[in-house]
């Protein structure tokens, strides 16, 4: 029943309040999904140790990787300390073994040795870089030629020795002097190289030493029984240039 001035009765008013209460509950502000997810994630008790362990493993791995990179460009004595530290950290966390290998590199034989560094006032190498096939002072063994397991390529293997820092350029020539296309994937010059097929592979030798060379050539570019030559050009910082040819028969 309504009053003369159209005001609600007590029951109507109470019913109106009930509707308002329902509206306040159903229409209450809702947290965005992003906020709810981020808070729920922060409250998750499993999150902290899991992340912490992952971060520690990542830190140990990163340190080992950096130490490895440092070793490959010299400064091995510094790297050795870093590796020791990384190994101790890793040992106490998850990683049980860390191997850092500096192939043919010693602290006394890297580019910091007097007379061997670019820009070193004691740099006393004169003339073009000494570039030899095989180990210095030894007769080079014949180049090994091995077909890959799928017979799609041939790998020619040998060694070269360089007696100072130099930029090295590798290519394979046929009997007419044409450069063949080389497959970098599967090729090793000191270590593995990566990249698309190319006619010349560029490698910077920072530590003078003997390095293994394995060059992968697509089989369809080679004729069986024919002789090919691996051409290596070494250029030092003064622009002095050396060249050597390593023959092999397909």
């Amino acid at each position: 029943m309504r009053s003369r001035r159209n005001e609600p009765t007590h029951d109507e008013a109470e019913f109106g309040l009930q509707l308002l209460e329902d509206e306040l509950r159903t229409g209450r502000p809702v947290a965005s999904a992003g906020l709810a997810a981020s808070i729920a994630d922060a409250l998750d008790p499993r999150r902290t140790p899991k992340t912490s362990r992952r971060q520690l493993v990542f830190a140990a791995t990163l340190t080992a990787t950096l130490a490895s990179a440092l070793a490959s460009v010299g400064g091995v004595s510094y790297a050795a300390n870093a590796v020791t530290h990384a190994a101790s950290v890793a040992k106490s966390v998850v990683v049980t073994r860390v191997h850092v290998v500096g192939k043919g590199v010693t602290a006394g034989g890297d580019q910091y040795r007097p007379g061997f560094g670019f820009g070193d006032p004691n740099h006393n190498h004169t003339g073009p870089p000494g570039l030899t096939n095989g180990k210095k002072g030894e007769k080079a063994p014949p180049t090994q030629v091995t077909p890959t397991s799928d017979n799609k390529a041939v790998v020619a293997s040998g060694q070269i020795t360089v007696d100072e820092q130099a930029a090295l350029y590798f290519s394979v020539l046929d009997s007419a002097g044409n450069q063949l296309l080389l497959t970098q994937k599967g090729t090793e010059i000191g270590g593995s190289v990566e990249g698309p097929q190319t006619k010349t592979i560029h490698y910077v030798m920072l530590v003078p030493r003997t390095i293994p060379v394995q060059i992968r050539v697509p089989a369809n570019l080679l004729t069986k029984g024919e002789t090919y030559r691996i051409r290596v050009i070494a250029v030092d910082a003064q622009g002095n240039k050396s060249r050597t040819l390593i023959s092999f028969t397909a």
Partner: protein
């Protein structure tokens, strides 16, 4: 002291704390910041939660109230900013009504607004509200009823005014 993880069931807790904060300061970025700060503080003082003294929601609301107080202390005009209202006809009617409702809540005085937020945002019972505000349960029920009536009156006024603006041929009051 009874030990229990207050965050064992976080989803409803987040919803209730956010709704409480949003009814207090308005839905939006400020409410999100305060809610985040509330949970951050709660996580830091998790060990102080005593299940014997009440459920996690009441404990969280206590923290949220302090965060809101800090918010207002840093920005004295924060509570006076009303939520932006949609123009009539721009949104679906239910969304517009929701905005009307939140705007009407924002216009209440702080005491009534607090009660509405605790009851319908945090979903606390009158007894729990009494504990939070250190009042008697009966006093909370009466105050809540008054706050609801004020809110209803404000909504009726705003709807009447809106109709009056949109169609001046409708009388604001039937004087028959």
């Amino acid at each position: 002291m009874l030990r229990r993880d207050p965050f064992a069931n976080p989803e409803p807790l987040i919803k209730r704390v956010y709704a409480y904060v949003a009814y207090r300061v308005g839905d939006g970025a400020d409410a999100e910041d305060i809610t985040s700060a509330t949970f951050e503080r709660a996580l830091r003082y998790k060990k102080s939660f005593d299940a014997a003294k009440g459920d996690p929601t009441a404990w969280m609301i206590g923290i949220a109230r302090r965060e809101i107080a800090s918010h207002y202390a840093a920005r004295p005009d924060a509570g006076r900013v009303l939520p932006e209202l949609a123009l009539p006809g721009d949104l679906a009617s239910d969304s517009a009504e929701r905005l009307d409702l939140q705007a009407a809540v924002a216009e209440l005085d702080p005491r009534d607004r607090e009660l509405i937020a605790l009851r319908y945002g945090a979903d606390l019972s009158a007894r729990q509200i009494a504990e939070v505000l250190e009042l008697k349960t009966n006093a909370v029920e009466v105050a809540l009823h008054r706050a609801l009536r004020k809110l209803r009156d404000r909504l009726n006024t705003s709807i009447s005014l809106e109709r009056g603006v949109r169609n001046s041929t409708i009388p604001l009051v039937n004087d028959e």
